[in-house]
Symmetry: C2
C-alpha cells in the first residue's frame, strides 16, 4: 500500500498520529509513505524514517521546488502544500500506478485494504462528498463551480497516477487558479471539483471520509443504523475537518477521544520523536 | 510482565478485547497470560494460544477444579471465577513472584510498566479504591465489613504472590464466606476488603482503575485537570464496572467509543477467533 501526504514541518506531529493509526488498525501491513514537502529538515526526516522502519513502513521524502507554486494563492490555513496532491502524478516515481492521499487531519481506524483495491476504472480519482448536512453547500458549490456532481472533499483521495500522468496538466491547474483566484474558497478542493468533477469515482463518505463533526447527521440519514458501534465496525477513515481540531483544547465532538488516544499511542510507537 | 485473568467461556470475547488493548498500548512488550478457568474447551484454548503467540504473548491455561468452590456463593453476575484471584498464589507456578490480575471488563490504554514495577513492599496486594462519587458507599462498606480503610476495588489487583503464599489461606476465605454468605454484596471484593484491608497498598484509581462511568466526577475532584486529554495521556486502565457494559447496545458513556474500537481491532489482531 502506498500513502501520500503533503505537509510542512508544523504538521509532523499530526502525521505521526495518522501513521500510528494506520499501523495499529492495519496490523502486519507494510506501507510506502510518500511525503511531499518543502523545508522539512534532513534531521527530522531521518528520525521519522527510522521510526517508520520500526513499524514496517518506508519513508520516501519528495522535496518540492516551491518556486513552482510561487504564484498560487495560499494562506496559513491553506498552505501551498494543498496543491501537491493534484500534481502528485508528475512528481512521484513512474513505477507507482496509484496512491492514497490522506490529509494530516485524518485518522485511520479500520482496514484500508478495500479502499486500496478499489476499481478506479478510467477515473482519475476516487473521492467522497460530505453529503447530508452540507446539502445546501453542495448545491451552492455546484452552481459556483459549474459542476453537475456532488462537491467532493479532497482530504481522502485515491489517485489513479497512471491516468493522471496522461490527463492532469499543471498548466490547466495554474491557469484555473489564475482566472479564479478571487473566488476560490477551498482552493485545492475547488480545483478538484471544477476541473475534474466528471472524472471522480464516488466513495461512501461514511466509510472512507467520515466528517467527525457530523455524528448526529450520519445517524439520522441512516435511520439510526450508524450508531457508535456501527461506526467503529465500518468507518475506516475519520476526517477532522473544519476549524475545531481534536489536538486542540476543548474539542468536544464524540470521536475526539479516539484522536487523543492515538496522539498518546504515537509517543509509544515513535519514541524517537519528541512531542 | 505476567497477567492473570479468570473467566468462563462466555467472556473469551472480552478477554480478546482486553489482550488486544494491552498489546497495542504496550508495543513490543511480551507477556505471559495466565488464564484461570473451568470448562473452556481445549479447542478454544489452542486457538487462543496461537493467536496470542502471533502478538508475542504466551498463554498459560490453569484449569481449576470447580469442586473446590462448590459451596461458595455465586450468581450469573458473580460467577465462581471471582474467587480465583484471591487464591491465585496457591494455584500458579511457584516461580512467579507477582502477577497483575485484570477483570475482563477492563481496557488498557497506556503503558503498564510503572504498575508492573510498583514496590508492593510487605503488602499482599496493590489495589485502588473508587473514591469520590462513591464516598458514601465507601463509608457504608467500612462499617459493613469492619475495615478502617477505603473500600478497594478488586478489578485491578497487583498480587504479591510470594507473600500471599505465606499468608493467604483458602480456609480463611471459605470460612469467611460461610459465616457471611447472606450479607456479601460483591463477594470477592468484600472478602478482599474484610480479610486483607490493612494488607493492601493503595493505587491511584484515576490512573490504574478508572471507573469509566465517572468522568464528570474525576474532572470535578481534580479541579478540571482530568479532562479527556489528561485521561488519554495518563490513565492506563479503564474499568467498565457496573451494569452498563460497553459491548452492549446503547452504552453511552464517553469512553465507550474506545472500547468499541478495541472490539473491532481484536478482530484484526485475533483473526483466528470468530466473533
Amino acid at each position: 500500500m502506498d500513502i501520500l501526504v503533503s505537509l510542512d514541518e508544523n504538521y509532523v506531529r499530526q502525521l505521526c498520529v495518522l501513521l500510528t493509526s494506520i499501523h495499529v488498525s492495519n496490523p502486519g501491513v507494510g506501507a510506502g509513505i510518500y511525503l511531499m514537502h518543502r523545508g522539512i529538515s534532513e534531521k527530522k526526516l531521518l528520525r521519522l524514517s527510522s521510526c517508520l522502519e520500526a513499524v514496517g513502513f518506508r519513508l520516501f521524502p519528495v522535496a518540492v521546488d516551491e518556486r513552482m507554486f510561487m504564484n498560487a494563492p495560499s494562506t496559513k490555513q491553506y498552505p501551498q502544500e494543498m496543491y501537491y496532491r493534484l500534481l502528485a502524478s508528475s512528481m512521484l516515481p513512474g513505477n507507482l500506478d496509484r496512491i492514497l492521499y490522506l490529509d494530516p487531519d485524518t485518522l485511520v481506524v479500520n482496514s484500508l485494504e478495500k479502499l486500496w483495491k478499489t476499481d478506479i476504472g478510467g477515473f482519475l480519482f476516487a473521492a467522497a462528498a460530505h453529503t447530508g448536512k452540507t446539502e445546501l453547500a453542495n448545491n451552492i458549490n455546484r452552481l459556483r463551480l459549474k459542476t453537475e456532481n456532488d462537491y467532493f472533499n479532497s482530504g481522502v483521495l485515491l489517485i489513479n497516477l497512471e491516468r493522471c500522468r496522461k490527463e492532469v496538466r499543471a498548466e490547466d491547474i495554474f491557469k484555473y487558479v489564475e482566472e479564479h483566484s478571487s473566488s476560490l474558497l477551498l482552493p485545492d478542493q475547488d480545483i478538484l471539483n471544477a476541473l475534474y468533477w466528471d472524472r471522480i469515482r464516488k466513495l461512501d463518505d461514511s466509510i472512507w471520509n467520515y466528517d467527525a463533526r457530523n455524528y448526529s447527521n450520519y445517524l439520522l440519514r441512516s435511520f439510526g443504523k450508524a450508531d457508535t458501534a456501527w461506526v467503529m465496525e465500518n468507518t475506516a477513515i475519520f476526517h477532522f475537518c473544519g476549524k475545531a481540531k481534536p489536538w486542540k483544547k476543548r474539542y468536544n465532538y464524540r470521536f475526539g477521544v479516539l484522536y487523543r488516544h492515538y496522539m498518546q499511542l504515537s509517543r509509544a510507537y515513535f519514541p524517537g520523536l519528541s512531542f
